[in-house]
């Protein structure tokens, strides 16, 4: 489903004494459909950067990231946009949305962007909001007014509202209580069962053991 090969990345910071910071070098792995792979390694070893490169949010210097026929590394912006609409779901650590837009619309949007109809989008969004215990009284409010944990759950709903074949999860359970954590674990297991390739960063070993089939130690791809 997803194949990373010889991936290289470094940051060149012109404004900070021309610092050259190697991030990854020779990163290489595959993820099959229905498989969940956990990215591991100490903070700062490049787990989130690697995930952002797969999403096309960070550029790679060289190598390839193949997802259903497209190489994200060399893809045009429009090809990446198309992948994001229908193929890659990404749950980042922080919710970034327009102020003032009601939660229900925020979470239904990815489904509509993927080509789904509005009524269906809303139905699925409602169901997921309930599963993740976002009270219905909040649905017409902007999620930017919510607590950290609620915002994270809104972000998770956005990532699961469309059945993306590839899912990138950056610490999806970091600020959740155990009931919500279990609900997220169920969602991940269901996604695997329908054949999604899941790549996650899970600091919580319990979560990792519950969903990951395999671990990839990103520090082995250290840039140095």
């Amino acid at each position: 489903m997803l194949s990373v090969s010889n991936l290289e990345k470094s940051f060149h910071l012109h404004q900070q004494n021309n610092a050259h910071i190697p991030v990854l070098s020779g990163a290489q792995f595959d993820v099959a459909a229905g498989e969940c792979v956990a990215l591991t390694g100490p903070s700062g070893c490049g787990k989130s950067s690697l995930m952002r490169m797969i999403y096309g949010n960070y550029r790679a210097d060289s190598g390839s990231i193949r997802i259903s026929g497209t190489d994200v590394v060399t893809a045009t912006p429009r090809e990446v946009m198309a992948l994001r609409r229908g193929t890659i779901g990404y749950v980042s650590q922080f919710l970034r949305v327009l102020p003032r837009v009601p939660t229900l619309r925020v979470v239904a949007e990815p489904y509509i962007l993927a080509g789904g109809n509005e009524a269906e989008a809303e139905e699925i969004a409602r169901e997921l909001l309930l599963r993740l215990r976002i009270p219905e009284t909040l649905w017409q409010l902007s999620p930017l007014t919510f607590s950290g944990g609620e915002q994270q759950r809104v972000n998770i709903v956005r990532g699961f509202v469309h059945p993306y074949p590839v899912l990138l999860l950056d610490e999806p359970t970091a600020s959740l209580d155990s009931a919500n954590r279990d609900s997220v674990l169920d969602l991940i297991v269901e996604a695997k069962q329908r054949g999604a390739a899941v790549i996650g960063i899970f600091h919580d070993a319990l979560v990792r053991d519950a969903v990951a089939d395999r671990e990839i130690d990103v520090s082995l791809f250290g840039g140095n």
Partner: protein, 256 residues
């Protein structure tokens, strides 16, 4: 899907001062392209050359007409270009006073664009104007008031209604949220995003506000001294800028 606008080698100088130089890009229907840069970077010059408000020195600006014919708008005659400006194109100015007629009513401002493309039925025009006031969240009861009695944010929303009522296919925007309160900005961005998605229009938006680009644009170009120094997916350019100047811009911004 193919492009609606293709720009090649567009250049404009003021004497020996570069306005913009060798700018190339294309835009597809339903896409929002953000152009950022500091004052004097050439972004407004570029926008005005594209829209035909300024005469370019060289290059081409190919626009695909409704019948599928591709035309270089730089070599069109003035009458044709004006017609395009009334139908397929719209231009939203930074200062709503530049894009509105302050001496006629809000309804008249919207109706005027409809009449310019041949609508003559008063009842229809008024009904359309009313529905557009609602869409841009202006109380329809204000339809007969002059825009001079509106707040800045209302004037900007009225300007957008006036521009979008004729269903243009390409909209140029010059700092549309520039002089507005932050609370009004968010509202306007939400409105714009909704309209772009709903109507499938292509938008070229010039701004110095990186947060506006993040929220609205799919792709972006960074200009400096008249040249495009970096371009790509908006979030990629903002989160992983590679050009020295883009890094400076992004690192200087207050949280985007």
């Amino acid at each position: 899907m193919t492009d609606i606008l293709r720009v090649n080698g567009l250049s404009k100088s003021y004497g020996n001062q570069i306005g913009c130089a060798d700018v190339c890009f294309d835009v597809y229907p339903g896409e929002v392209l953000g152009i950022v840069g500091e004052s004097g970077s050439g972004k407004t010059t570029l926008l005005r050359c594209l829209a035909g408000h300024l005469e370019a020195d060289g290059g081409s600006v190919e626009f695909v007409l409704r019948d599928g014919v591709r035309r270089d708008t730089l070599t069109m005659d003035e009458a044709e270009r004006r017609q395009l400006g009334r139908t397929d194109w719209a231009f939203v100015h930074q200062n709503p006073r530049d894009g509105l007629r302050m001496a006629i009513s809000a309804g008249g401002n919207i109706g005027e664009r409809l009449m310019a493309i041949g609508d003559r039925h008063y009842g229809n025009i008024r009904a359309t104007a009313t529905s557009w006031l609602e869409r841009v969240e202006i109380d329809p009861a204000r339809i007969d008031d002059r825009p001079s009695t509106f707040s800045g944010g209302m004037q900007q929303r009225l300007q957008i209604a006036r521009n979008l009522v004729t269903a243009p296919r390409l909209v140029f925007m010059d700092e549309p949220t520039g002089g507005l309160d932050v609370s009004v900005q968010a509202r306007l961005l939400d409105l714009l995003r909704g309209l772009v998605a709903e109507l499938g229009i292509a938008v070229i938006i010039v701004t110095h506000d990186l947060a506006v680009v993040r929220m609205l644009a799919d792709r972006m170009m960074v200009m400096r001294r008249g040249k495009v120094v970096e371009s790509g997916l908006a979030d990629q350019v903002l989160d992983d800028p590679s050009h020295e100047y883009t890094q400076l811009l992004v690192s200087s911004a207050l949280q985007v």
